[in-house]
Symmetry: C2
Subunit: 353 residues, 2 copies
């Protein structure tokens, strides 16, 4: 698998990833190297990772608590304090070994520590491999507001080692797979068809490669999200609000990110059918395909009202308007579509049918 | 006074500043404009400032507590929460009206809010006019570690209105003047001579202009501080450590930034005399000129030991080494000079003599 290059760094796969990492570390002469992990990646991924490092570096391991609830400024401050105590300096580097929480938070921590030190992302979940590996978005949540605080900053390199997927359970894999299905929906109908047929995740490396390629091609054309890049938000406008609401609401079980956006993609599919000409057959295909993978969630009227209130806080909204990315067909998007509020409620009814 | 242009924005002076601001605001069509102030600038500068705005914008005023002790992540989080509550979005902008705490913290808050919104700096102290107005450094302190957390990011414009200096007392003006004296020492011996003769701060606008020009010219040549830009740290390596120590130590009165770096410039003058050939006559000129403006501070042995421990945490240090910017002559620097520890103690003795 060839490496995928972005304007400022490369995404390396499998054994080449370790070769490139070893080369980079020996050339860069970092004063110290910090590896950010959570409890899970500390136990299940770090030993495998360290076994592939050729030379004897002065690694320091920093462990944060796992889960989206800890992706906040408080955790950042703790990591900044540990970095300071351990004498991290401007020539230090950070390797973020983990899922989206570790790579998003770690990227932000590194980008702000002494106004920026080098960092390398090693995503260990399917979601972070296909989603967080390109684009340079770093950040943390502010209360219920997802990724409200962050910067755009690029890592030195990204290493994708599908072997780490063996540490994940079926539910986590399905969650990541939702972002891959999104790549098909927004950009490539044939890819969508082949993804629908995937029943197990044993041999998924080629699909990861396709997804990273699609995302990279989109980000390359529009790095600052003026136009095209917005299509990556398909399913996320409502999906984020749903995810935030379930995170904060004590009476609901947690929804994983992919589970939340799978609901968002059905709801926004309905909006696409109503507003941007998505054929009804494709809408039904989208709904059936997601419900075959992700258990249907029940929303009360209060749930829906609160979610619609959260909507207006979404980062991508401006001037108080909520702008949606919708589908014209599977594989083709329309951006900056305004949606009347009653249609949003109808979409929830369509989902519940 | 002509505007000074940097690669990404301009510094405007006096009435032109307001003309350019009005033009920018009417062209930019921000969804909302937030003005960050502290209690002092809220009372003494904001009315003057608002009186110069032509159109009727939907301004929201956010007030933070004044002083370096509040330049921290906790204050940032408060401002981020207020921005969220007030529906700030990606098309909102922030105007930072205040001294270095407001412009440094406000720049950081804006740079990280929803991964970056526009901001405009309106420095109201002499220090922030000559120091914080170019270079794009934003950030906050982490405990005793100054500017440990931050990013490099450029404002949309900087407005320098010397009229605001009337709101400052003599001690605050002298503090800012220390950075101007530094500009003479590191880059322009004739400027140093003319600054020494300044007795009151009534007609200081031309000097501010010269200082901003010097700083801009240095930053332009080396935006990422690989080489030349390091000279702006003259006096700051020891000065920062002294300032941090006095900030945290309950038995000492607070030292203002300029007061701390004035001590740093004498100490590092001594190191320059010992290591980089600064003539003894120039060393004595530096010491006498600073002591004529800034009251001599007494350091105990414990004070000095603690300050030297803080030194190794300075942002600019890497691989555990402390690198100094020293003077070859007044007006010319040498960078990346390592200094033996015993010489640091001697420098404090020279200062006390």
């Amino acid at each position: 698998m060839n490496s995928i290059t972005t304007p400022s760094y490369a995404v390396h796969f499998n054994q080449i990833a370790y070769t490139e990492l070893n080369k980079h570390l020996s050339q860069s002469k970092y004063s110290k190297i910090f590896i950010l992990v959570d409890e899970n990646t500390h136990n299940y991924c770090l030993p495998t990772f360290l076994a592939q490092i050729n030379e004897d570096y002065d690694f320091e391991i920093i462990e944060i608590e796992e889960g989206e609830v800890n992706k906040n400024i408080h955790t950042c401050t703790q990591v900044w304090e540990v970095l300071s105590e351990l004498d991290a300096d401007r020539k230090s580097a950070m390797i973020n070994l983990g899922g989206g929480v570790v790579t998003d938070l770690g990227g932000f921590v590194a980008s702000c520590f002494k106004r920026g030190i080098d960092f390398i992302n090693v995503p260990t979940t399917l979601l972070s491999m296909v989603d967080a590996s390109v684009g340079g978005k770093t950040g943390v949540d502010l209360g219920p507001l997802k990724n409200q605080i962050g910067v755009i900053n690029q890592p030195q390199m990204v290493l994708i080692v599908p072997e780490f997927l063996k540490t994940l359970n079926e539910r986590q894999l399905q969650s990541g797979f939702a972002e891959m299905l999104k790549h098909g929906l927004i950009r490539d109908a044939a890819y969508w068809e082949s993804l629908k047929a995937v029943l197990d995740f044993e041999n998924i490396a080629d699909f990861i490669y396709t997804s990273v390629t699609i995302k990279n091609e989109v980000v390359l054309q529009d790095p600052t999200e003026q136009n095209l890049r917005k299509i990556l938000n398909y399913g996320h406008t409502l999906g984020h609000a749903i995810e935030s609401y379930f995170l904060e609401s004590p009476k609901h079980d947690l929804l994983l990110h992919g589970e939340a956006i799978s609901i968002g993609m059905i709801l926004e599919g309905y909006l696409s059918f109503k507003l941007t000409g998505l054929p009804e057959s494709e809408l039904n295909d989208i709904k059936a395909s997601f419900l075959a993978r992700y258990k249907k969630t029940t929303f009360t009227k209060t749930d829906i009202d609160t979610i619609l209130t959260l909507l207006k806080f979404d980062k991508k909204n401006s001037h108080g308007n909520v702008n949606f990315v919708l589908l014209k067909n599977i594989g083709e998007c329309a951006i900056d579509i305004k949606v009347p509020e009653d249609l949003l409620k109808e979409a929830f009814e369509f989902y519940a049918e």
